[in-house]
């Protein structure tokens, strides 16, 4: 992977507590040596929050579709009867 992608992976492992996350001491040392690491980490955290919201939106849309298929379709009355 390109170094820029490796850096995203390094931050991800730290934020998501992945198996390849740096030990706390090593991470703190990196923060001292890399002046942009803290800001990049904060940005990446915001990305994950945005993705969580987007995922919830998509799941809600999928659930609305399931509801429509089960209860508003041509045979909905039969499915309702079956599920009682």
């Amino acid at each position: 992977m390109r170094p820029e992608l490796e850096r995203l992976q390094l931050i991800e492992q730290h934020l998501l507590n992945g198996p390849a996350a740096l030990p706390a001491g090593d991470w703190n040392l990196r923060l001292l040596l890399d002046g942009e690491l803290a800001a990049d980490t904060a940005t990446q955290q915001r990305l994950y929050q945005g993705l969580r919201r987007a995922g919830r939106q998509q799941l809600r849309q999928e659930l609305r579709s399931i509801h429509a298929r089960l209860y508003r379709g041509r045979w909905a009355w039969l499915r309702r009867l079956w599920s009682m």
């Binding site: 945005g50 969580r52 919201r53 919830r56 939106q57 998509q58 809600r60």
Partner: protein, 191 residues
């Protein structure tokens, strides 16, 4: 033949949701929603209220199950009905205090947590997620929200290896970050 998800323990439910989300959610929906609708309509709510409460509960169940935080002491259907009863009782008390308000549409209000300052920036990032290409959006949501393993993501998106799918995931994340950064810099310059 797969077992019905409403009877499964938490780990098997998680596997069923990850293997075929639509099928597992449809089975749960068919099994549990009628009881929730009866309960909500019998306690002062409408069919739409029942739908909102039930879908909130399914989102909660999905996140707990795929996040490995779900402990089931009864069937998934019983658990869902229990969440819905609690949420509907909570909603009734809230409406008694604020009678003009209906259930919130905002899924962030699913959890009674106060969003921190960084989460207030969520809608801006959300806009840029929507502007990603369909493939990037699908890969990022599959991994970061739906918690699908990279082996499954690689197969679903026609990548030959997990390694290729991993690289693509980070390229998509980089694209999202760059869009957000550009917007942030533009806002900073304009203000």
């Amino acid at each position: 033949m797969t077992a019905s998800p409403h009877l499964l323990p938490a780990t098997a439910l998680r596997d069923a949701l990850l293997a075929n989300r639509e099928q597992a959610l449809t089975r749960l929906y068919r099994r549990a929603f009628p009881a929730v609708r009866r309960y909500v309509r019998g306690h002062g709510g409408s069919a739409e209220d029942a739908q909102d409460v039930f879908q909130d509960a399914l989102v909660i169940l999905y996140e707990q199950a795929t996040g490995g935080r779900l402990v089931l002491t009864a069937s998934a259907s019983t658990y869902l009905v229990s969440i819905c009863r609690n949420r509907w009782q909570h909603e009734l008390r809230r409406r008694a205090r604020l009678p003009q308000d209906a259930l919130p549409d905002d899924p962030e209000q699913l959890n009674a947590e106060t969003p921190d300052a960084s989460e207030e920036a969520g809608p801006a990032v959300l806009d840029y997620v929507e502007r990603l290409g369909a493939k990037c959006k699908s890969i990022l949501l599959a991994f970061y929200y739906f918690q699908q393993p990279l082996t499954q993501i690689a197969a679903d998106h026609d990548y030959r290896s997990v390694r290729s799918a991993t690289v693509q995931k980070f390229k998509c994340l980089e694209r999202l970050r760059n869009s957000v950064r550009r917007a942030f810099h533009a806002e900073t310059i304009d203000s």
